[in-house]
């Protein structure tokens, strides 16, 4: 880790995690984790199985309440949100953090288009006058729905799913389902998009397409991406910033080049004995 140099993500962070600890009974899944994710960056959270990556995600998106620590999200307009104090659905609706899931969670019995409309629920709910105006058929809701369909179509186009719009989400092949989940998350118009292993189970071609999609989303939208990934090809190719976790603790934090050559990371990934890792870590610290 090179000292001294101010890193881009620390200058303008969208997400700041400070001293995050998550305990399940006696088990400490995440211990005193601090990191930042820069605005407009693709930040990757990597680490061996059971390192606590998904737990961190669940803390950020409110599905778990952290035992300790603070998670701050900063919007481009300067407003900040303390995520550990918000309910899960408020993190999505107020703080505009969207996420996908490791084992895909689509509304499989609903059509692809319906999935994307559900994602725009809060906007449409307001347009329907909290149902009261919608039930008597006021035009405001119809227009809002047309706009929502347009947004849905836009994201279907981007993810290459437009011709499957009227099919059941559960009928799509696996790779399409992964992309649909991303499209659905994007329809919430997030500030921060959290992707939990988006490339899992994809073949090399699909994985490559996913990279292009994520890069293009970063280009075209005013958005930051935080992703968990096992596929090092994906991680090294698209991330600006990588955080490595092992046994719930951060062992490295830097650019792909820095992380790639970090002995602690190599040790963690090659499965070296704990003592040796400690020895290596000691060396680095000195």
């Amino acid at each position: 880790m090179s000292e001294g140099e101010t890193r881009a993500w620390e200058r303008a962070p969208v997400l700041t995690v400070e001293h995050l600890t998550m305990r399940f009974g006696g088990l400490v899944a995440v211990h005193d984790l601090s990191f930042t994710a820069g605005r407009g960056d693709i930040t990757a959270l990597i680490g061996p199985n059971g390192a606590g990556k998904t737990t961190v995600f669940n803390c950020i998106t409110g599905f778990y309440k952290p035992s300790e620590g603070m998670i701050t999200l900063a919007h481009p307009d300067g407003s900040t949100f303390l995520l550990e104090r918000l309910d899960d659905y408020r993190i999505a609706s107020k703080a505009h953090v969207a996420r996908t899931f490791q084992n895909i969670r689509l509304f499989s019995g609903m059509s692809v288009l319906e999935n994307l409309l559900v994602a725009q629920h809060n906007r449409l709910m307001r347009a329907s006058g909290f149902t009261f105006a919608g039930i008597i058929g006021l035009g405001t809701f119809r227009r809002a729905e047309e706009k929502a369909v347009e947004l849905a179509k836009y994201w279907l186009e981007r993810t290459g799913l437009l011709e499957r719009a009227d099919d059941a989400a559960g009928d799509l092949p696996y790779g399409d389902q992964r992309r649909l989940e991303i499209a659905r998350a994007m329809c919430t118009q997030p500030v921060l998009l959290c992707l939990d292993e988006p490339a899992a189970g994809l073949n090399p071609r699909e994985s490559h397409e996913l990279n292009q999609l994520l890069l293009s989303i970063r280009e075209s939208e005013n958005i930051s991406i935080l992703l968990i990934e096992h596929d090092m090809g994906v991680v090294m190719e698209i991330s600006d910033h990588i955080i490595v976790l092992d046994y719930g603790e951060k062992i490295a934090d830097g650019t792909p080049q820095q992380v790639r050559t970090d002995p602690a990371v190599i040790a963690a990934y090659l499965g070296v004995e704990d003592e040796e890792v400690e020895a290596v870590e000691k060396e680095i610290l000195q």
């Binding site: 998904t54 669940n58 599905f63 778990y64 899931f101």
Partner: protein, 307 residues
């Protein structure tokens, strides 16, 4: 104090009966994750079978002690065996065809089976209540003070002792035997259990058989304790027992017993100290309150939300 003690005895007796029925609910729920709504009616069928055999054998309170014990044991065994056939048949006809399907379907067939059993018994045995002369009489006076007598009757002793013995035996079966292992395997993952050589159909059938056998015991106890049954007793007792199973934490055997005791005690004490009319409201309210704070019941494993 004396009054309290008497109610405690009565509550534990009632709780034992609920607990025995609740085990059937909890085991079936544990293994196939469904509410066997017809289980209360299996209990009712068990009570009827016991009643008919008691009359057929013709023993009364006057029979000598040894003979009485032997006759009761005989009735108990026969009722358990015959009621098991009912439990097995219900599973075979109404639940097995729906094993891998939509979760609400077996709930509806269970309600349907409950209606079928109630009405079948009503048709076959009539709608009138069936009274039985007390067979086990007598008891002990534990305490006497200011003219208030605390009684512990023989039938209460019998019920509680039988329940405790059966609880112990079935806990051992679940913990130690091949069947118990197979059951636990099926609870975890039915497909995997089948792959490693567990006969899933047989295990599930046996679960229903055990549940029905225990319900038959409860049926006989109920008959001896209250001395009157009809085709409708299964509904109320079933709902109470199911409440007990959920309260204790559905899927947990000790939970079923604890839940049964809790419901039995609440009902008895509420009737004794407040109003008898609202005893069910008290039991159901406690259930709702417990579940709001402990969504998996008293002894159930808390459900961890996997994201």
């Amino acid at each position: 104090m004396e009054y309290f003690l008497q109610q405690l005895i009565n509550g534990v007796t009632l709780g034992s009966i609920y607990g025995l029925i609740a085990i059937g609910y909890t085991m079936v729920y544990g293994i196939i994750g469904m509410i066997n709504f017809a289980h209360g009616d299996i209990f009712m069928v068990g009570a009827f079978i016991a009643l008919i055999f008691i009359i057929a054998l013709g023993f009364t309170a006057g029979t000598s002690f040894i003979l009485l014990v032997l006759a009761l044991m005989l009735v108990l065994v026969i009722a358990m065996v015959l009621t098991s056939i009912w439990g097995w048949t219900v599973e075979r006809l109404a639940y097995r065809p729906l094993r891998e399907s939509f979760r609400l379907a077996p709930l509806i067939t269970a309600i349907g089976m409950s209606i079928v059993l109630q009405n079948l018994v009503q048709i076959l045995q009539g709608a009138r209540v069936k009274p039985l002369q007390p067979i086990i009489t007598g008891g002990y006076v534990i305490m006497e003070k200011d003219g208030f007598v605390v009684n512990l009757s023989n039938i209460q002793i019998l019920i509680v002792v039988t329940t405790v013995i059966l609880m112990a035996v079935f806990s051992l079966i679940i913990a130690r035997t091949e069947l118990g292992r197979a059951q636990r395997a099926c609870e975890q993952d039915r497909v995997m259990a089948a792959l490693v050589g567990v006969n899933v159909d047989r295990t599930i059938s046996l679960t229903f058989v055990i549940g029905a056998a225990l319900a038959a015991v409860a049926g006989l106890m109920y008959l001896l304790y209250y001395g009157v049954i009809d085709f409708y007793i299964g509904f109320v007792a079933g709902i109470k027992a199911f409440t007990a199973a959920v309260l204790g934490g559905i899927g947990s055997l000790p939970g079923a017993m604890l839940g049964g005791m809790t419901i039995g005690l609440i009902e008895t004490f509420w009737s004794a100290y407040f109003t008898v009319e609202y005893k069910d409201v008290a039991a159901f309210s406690i259930l709702a309150i417990v579940l709001i704070f402990l969504p998996s019941g008293l002894l159930g494993k808390p459900e961890v939300e996997k994201v």
